[in-house]
Symmetry: C2
Subunit: 152 residues, 2 copies
DNA sequence: GAAATATAGTTGACTAGGAAACAATACCAA
DNA sequence: TTGGTATTGTTTCCTAGTCAACTATATTTC
């Protein structure tokens, strides 16, 4: 009783993309769990790593999250003593976020987990294949003017 | 004060994959919104489309979701009158889910949205490029024994 | 310089999922 | 046939987001 035939989900590139992406992210999340850090927290920490300080609202823009989400995310990272929040001297509304010493020390460890995860999933591809995939994904991103850092 | 240099997030293929995948899924979700359906609901409906009836637990396996999540998802679809739930005559614990007439009529419309979304993101790739990407993703999926349908 | 407007961050209500405890039923083994 | 175990689906509690209302401070405009 399948009236009009409908192509399978698997005919869409988006389907495969999502399936693989989900698994890669999930596996990465599991690795991070050993360090008691989520993917979103990792991205924030990595952003802060080469920038000294950053305003929450800038972070929201960069990660494509709402300011509310960043507010709560920052709160969690502060509770873990991985980042710190300072009032802006210039603007009474504004704040800046920065890594604590502890947080800064953790980033290279987390980066190693990210490397390992990427290698586990894509390490078997030849350099040419990797480059082809990366180029295609970059082209799609550019074409659609995608610029936010994927958090989840 | 960036002590040890850490490679940028963008050096990972997983980063690009997630960025593009997130945007493709988000755009698809927005299209589905016009029909008042979520991506997860669409996947369930598409699964039911060529199968007559399906047990919730089978659905959970196929979609890689918990039975609890399927329970709630089914409840939402039933509330929208897009699927129906019947008690299994053979097994007092079991149920089966099926599309309603209305639900079945909706599937081809939703499939058209899926096609359009895929085309919007990947239509500009040459057939060879599309195939290369699909093959690589399939290979990664196969290598990791990924078999669940990506819902989100 | 006062009033309107804009911006930064927080909060509360809501959503969709996971994990684990649970109830009901089925299966199995002695 | 009865007692233990397995399985099905539901429920409760938790998490991490969104959205929209809110507070406080800045900026602009007249």
């Amino acid at each position: 009783m399948t009236h009009p035939p409908v192509p399978a989900l698997t005919t869409h590139l988006g389907y495969w993309l999502r399936m693989v992406s989900n698994q890669v992210s999930l596996a990465f999340a599991k690795r991070l769990e050993a360090k008691d850090v989520t993917v979103a927290e990792w991205v924030v920490m990595r952003e802060l790593y080469d920038v000294e300080t950053l305003a929450p609202s800038r972070l929201a823009d960069r990660l494509g999250m709402t300011r509310g989400a960043i507010s709560k995310l920052a709160e969690r990272l502060i509770a873990k003593a991985l980042i710190a929040r300072d009032a802006s001297p210039a603007d009474g509304r504004a704040q800046t976020l920065r890594l604590t010493g502890e947080g800064r020390l953790l980033v290279p460890e987390l980066a190693a987990l990210a490397d390992a995860n990427d290698a586990a999933y894509f390490g078997h591809l030849t350099p040419a294949e990797r480059k082809a995939m990366e180029d295609m994904l970059k082209a799609v991103a550019k074409r659609q003017d995608i610029r936010t850092i994927p958090v989840e």
